[in-house]
C-alpha cells in the first residue's frame, strides 16, 4: 500500500499541468490575435495618413504654383507622414507619401502611397461623337463605333451604323432668353465658397424671370476659380417671398470645375431633366458650395444693377431648417436658354443603331435595343418602346470657352513661334504663330503644347505631327483661329504613352455662314478634332478617335472608333491650370 500512495496527487498535478498549458496557449493566442488586429488597424491608419500626404501635396502644389517639393515629417493624428515630389517628365510629377505609426523614427507600421499628378485640364470625351446645336449629318455607309450625343438633329442617308447609343437632346433656342453681363469697372468679383469678412458665402443665388414659358435648356454662369475647387451642384429653385424656396427644387445640374479657369468665362450647366418654367415668374439659379478658403469660386458681379428681372442673394446654408438669405448689391452675370426647338433622328434606309435611341422624334431607324421618344415612324425596335418620354437634356461640351482662352493666353505669353517652311527635326511650339501654316506634303515634326496658330492650318498629304515625348501620358493641343484644311493621309499623334493624344481645335465660327471650320479630305487621316463653334466635315475613308463639334457632316464611308481611355484625358494646361491626380496611377507600396 505504501508504494501505491499519492496517485490522486499525481493525477491532480498532471491535470493542473494540462489546464495550465492550455490556458497559457489560449492567452498567447489571444495576445497574437490582439497584436494582429492592432497591426491591421495601424496599417489602415498608416495608409490613411499617406493618402492625407497625397492630398496635402496636391493642395500645396496648387497653392504654391508648383513650388512645393514635399516635407520630411508632419505629425497628424496618431502618426505622421512624409512626402517626396519628383519630376517624371515635363508635365508629370510623382508624389510618394508615406504614413508612419507612431512616427518616422522607429515606426511600428508604415505604408507608402504613390500617385502621379499633372498640371492640366482634365477633359472627358465620353462619346465617340459629340455634336452641338448644329447637329450630325451622315451621308452613306458611315460607321460610328461608340455612342453619339447630339444637341441638334441627326440625319442620315443609307447604310449607316451607330454601334452604341444615340441621343438627340431637346434643342435650345439659339439666343438666350435672359442675359446679364458687364464690362469695365462695374464688374467686380463675388466670392462663392469661402468665408469672406466673417460671412460664409457658401450658397449663392441669382433670380430671373423668363420672358417665355417652356423648358429651361441650360444656364451659363460667368465664373472663374481660385485654387482648385471641386465639382459642385447648380440648382433651379422656385421663389418663396423673394428668396429661393428650399422645398421647390426644380432641377439639378453639375458645374464641372475643369471647365472653369482663372479668367472669367461663361460656363454652361445643363440639368438631369430640363425644368419647365412659366413666363414672368421668378426662379433662382443656385450655386451650392462648401467652405474652402483656399479653393473657391468667383462669380462676376455687375455693380451697375443693369438687370431688372432679378436680384442676387447669398446664404451660409440654403437647405437648413430656416435658411438665412442676405442681399447682394449688383447682378451676377448669367444667361438662360429655353428649349423648344424640335429635334429628331432620321434615316433613309438601313440606319442601324445597335444600342438605345433617345430623341423627341425617331424616323426610319432600326433599333436593336430600346427606344425613348415622343413620336416614332417607320422604325423597328427590337427592345422596348417607351413613348411619352421627355426630351434628353443637352450636354455640355468637354471644353469651355474659358479653357480655350486659357491655352491661348499661355501661348501668347511665350516667345512667338516662327514658321516658314518644314524642315527635318522641326519642333513647333509652345507659343503663337501669327499667321497661317501650310505644311504641304510629307512634313514630319514634333509639337509642343499649346501651339496656337492665329490663321489657318493647311496640310496636303502624308504629314505626321507628334506630340513631344516630354509630356508623358498627358495630351496636347493645336489651337487654330481660322480653318483647318486637311487633304489625305495626315496623322496627329500623341506621345505614344498611355492615352496621350494631339488634338486639333478650331475656334472658327460656322454658326452663321455654315462654312466648315475643319475640312478633312479622303483616306488615311487620323486624330482627334474639335470645333467649338464650327462644323467638321470628316471626309471619307478616315479613322478618328473622337470628334466634337457644333455640327458634323460625315459624308461617306468614314469610321469613328471611340477609345474608352479618352474619358479621362489630361491636357497640359495654361498658367491658371491646376495640378490634379492622373487617374489610374494610385499605388500602395
Amino acid at each position: 500500500m505504501i508504494n501505491q500512495s499519492g496517485q490522486v496527487f499525481i493525477f491532480g498535478i498532471v491535470s493542473t499541468g494540462v489546464v495550465l498549458v492550455t490556458t497559457l496557449l489560449t492567452i498567447a493566442g489571444a495576445q497574437l490575435y490582439f497584436q494582429n488586429t492592432n497591426y491591421t488597424l495601424e496599417v489602415e491608419k498608416a495608409t490613411a495618413l499617406a493618402e492625407a500626404g497625397v492630398d496635402k501635396a496636391i493642395s500645396s502644389m496648387n497653392k504654391t504654383g508648383g513650388a512645393y517639393n514635399g516635407e520630411s515629417e508632419t505629425f497628424f493624428g496618431e502618426g505622421s507622414y512624409s512626402v517626396v515630389v519628383t519630376d517624371k517628365d515635363a508635365g508629370t510629377k510623382i508624389v510618394e507619401a508615406t504614413g508612419y505609426i507612431p512616427g518616422k523614427d522607429n515606426p511600428k507600421v508604415r505604408r507608402t502611397v504613390r500617385i502621379e499628378m499633372s498640371k492640366g485640364v482634365g477633359v472627358s470625351f465620353v462619346y465617340g461623337v459629340q455634336v452641338g446645336e448644329g447637329g450630325l449629318e451622315l451621308g452613306n455607309t458611315n460607321l460610328i463605333t461608340g455612342s453619339v450625343y447630339s444637341n441638334g438633329n441627326i440625319t442620315a442617308g443609307n447604310g449607316n451604323t451607330i454601334t452604341g447609343d444615340a441621343w438627340v437632346a431637346g434643342g435650345p433656342q439659339p439666343d438666350p432668353d435672359q442675359v446679364t453681363d458687364c464690362m469695365g469697372l462695374s464688374c467686380q468679383d463675388f466670392i462663392v465658397g469661402k468665408n469672406e469678412g466673417g460671412n460664409n458665402q457658401l450658397d449663392v443665388a441669382q433670380s430671373f424671370k423668363p420672358a417665355s414659358s417652356g423648358l429651361l435648356n441650360k444656364v451659363s454662369l460667368k465664373l472663374k476659380k481660385i485654387g482648385n475647387p471641386p465639382v459642385i451642384n447648380v440648382r433651379i429653385l422656385k421663389d418663396s417671398n423673394g428668396s429661393p424656396d428650399k422645398n421647390g427644387v426644380l432641377a439639378l445640374g453639375t458645374l464641372f470645375n475643369s471647365l472653369v479657369t482663372g479668367n472669367y468665362g461663361f460656363i454652361d450647366v445643363t440639368f438631369t431633366t430640363s425644368p419647365s418654367l412659366v413666363a414672368d415668374t421668378t426662379y433662382w439659379i443656385l450655386m451650392d458650395t462648401s467652405q474652402d478658403n483656399n479653393n473657391y469660386w468667383l462669380w462676376q458681379n455687375d455693380l451697375e444693377l443693369s438687370y431688372l428681372r432679378g436680384v442676387p442673394k447669398w446664404s451660409p446654408n440654403w437647405s437648413t431648417g430656416n435658411p438665412e438669405w442676405n442681399s447682394i448689391s449688383g447682378d451676377l452675370s448669367f444667361k438662360t436658354y429655353m428649349g423648344g426647338a424640335p429635334t429628331s433622328i432620321r434615316g433613309q434606309s438601313n440606319f442601324h443603331v445597335n444600342g438605345n435611341v433617345h430623341a423627341n422624334t425617331i424616323d426610319s431607324l432600326t433599333i436593336d435595343k430600346d427606344a425613348y421618344y415622343q413620336t416614332i415612324v417607320n422604325s423597328t425596335v427590337a427592345g422596348s418602346s417607351n413613348p411619352g418620354q421627355a426630351d434628353p437634356p443637352p450636354k455640355v461640351f468637354p471644353l469651355s470657352e474659358a479653357n480655350i482662352i486659357d491655352w491661348k493666353t499661355q501661348a501668347e505669353s511665350l516667345p512667338p513661334v516662327n514658321y516658314s517652311v518644314c524642315t527635318d527635326g522641326m519642333v513647333l511650339g509652345p507659343g503663337k504663330i501669327s499667321g497661317s501654316v501650310d505644311l504641304g506634303n510629307g512634313c514630319e515634326f514634333t509639337v509642343k503644347t499649346p501651339l496656337y496658330i492665329a490663321g489657318n492650318l493647311i496640310m496636303n498629304s502624308n504629314n505626321k505631327l507628334t506630340l513631344s515625348s516630354e509630356y508623358g501620358t498627358a495630351s496636347g493641343v493645336i489651337l487654330v483661329d481660322g480653318q483647318i484644311n486637311i487633304n489625305t493621309h495626315n496623322e496627329l499623334l500623341g506621345t505614344g504613352q498611355g492615352n496621350s493624344l494631339l488634338m486639333a481645335l478650331s475656334t472658327y465660327d460656322s454658326r452663321v455662314n455654315s462654312i466648315a471650320a475643319i475640312i478633312i479630305g479622303n483616306n488615311g487621316n487620323t486624330g482627334v478634332f474639335y470645333a467649338s463653334s464650327g462644323i467638321i466635315e470628316p471626309g471619307s475613308g478616315n479613322s478618328y478617335k473622337e470628334l466634337t463639334a457644333w455640327g458634323i457632316r460625315l459624308v461617306n464611308s468614314s469610321s469613328i472608333n471611340y477609345e474608352t481611355g479618352l474619358s479621362s484625358q489630361l491636357f497640359s494646361s495654361g498658367p491658371t491650370g491646376s495640378f490634379s491626380l492622373i487617374k489610374g496611377t494610385y499605388q500602395v507600396k
Binding site: F11, V19, L25, T26, A30, L32, Y33, N36, T40, G584
Partner: protein, 196 residues
Amino acid sequence: MKWTKNLSGGFTLVEMLITISVFIIVGVLLFSILVNSTGFFYQQSSRFNQGLGINDSLQNIRENIKEADLVSLSYPSTGTPEYSSNAANLILRFQSIDSSGNKIFNVFDYIVYTVSNGKLYFKVYPDTQNGSARKSADKILSHNVSAVKFEYLDTGNSAVAPDLADKVKVTLTLSQKAGLKFETNVATSEANLRND
C-alpha cells in the same frame, strides 16, 4: 500505556469508502476541468485562427480593390471565361507594372478571389507577354470559409453590375468545428476603387 498500530489489520470499510469517494470526486472534478479546458482551448484557438485569417484576407482584398482600375466581368476577358465576377467571385483588373514599379498603360493584370472547398484563394494573373513584372500567385488566404459575398456598389451605395462598381463590399464568413460546436465568425469590409 503504549499505543501500537496493528499493521496487519488493513483499512476499515469506512476508511475505504471515504478514500474511494474522495478519489471519485476529485477524479470527476479534474476530468471535468480537463474536458472544459480543452474545449475552451479549441474554441478560442479556432476563434483566433479565424480572426487572423479574416484580418489578413480582408486587408489583402481591401488593398487590391483600392489599386484596381476596374472590376472585370470575367477572366480571361476574351474567350471562354474561367471565372466571372459575381457574389461568390471577385475579379479585379490592374494596370500592369514594369520592373521599376511604373504602370504600363493599356496592359492589364488580373487578380481573382474565389472560394473552393472551403478555402479562399488569391490568384494573380500578370500579362507577362506584354512586359508586366507583377508576380503571379496562387495561394490560400483563408481556410474554413463557409461563405463569401461580394457586393458591387456605386457612389450612392446602390447595387450595380460588377463592371460599373465604384466600390466593393465583401462579407467573409468562416466556420470551424471546435469541440462539439461550430465556431463561426463573420466580418465585412468595403473599399473604393481609387483608380476607377
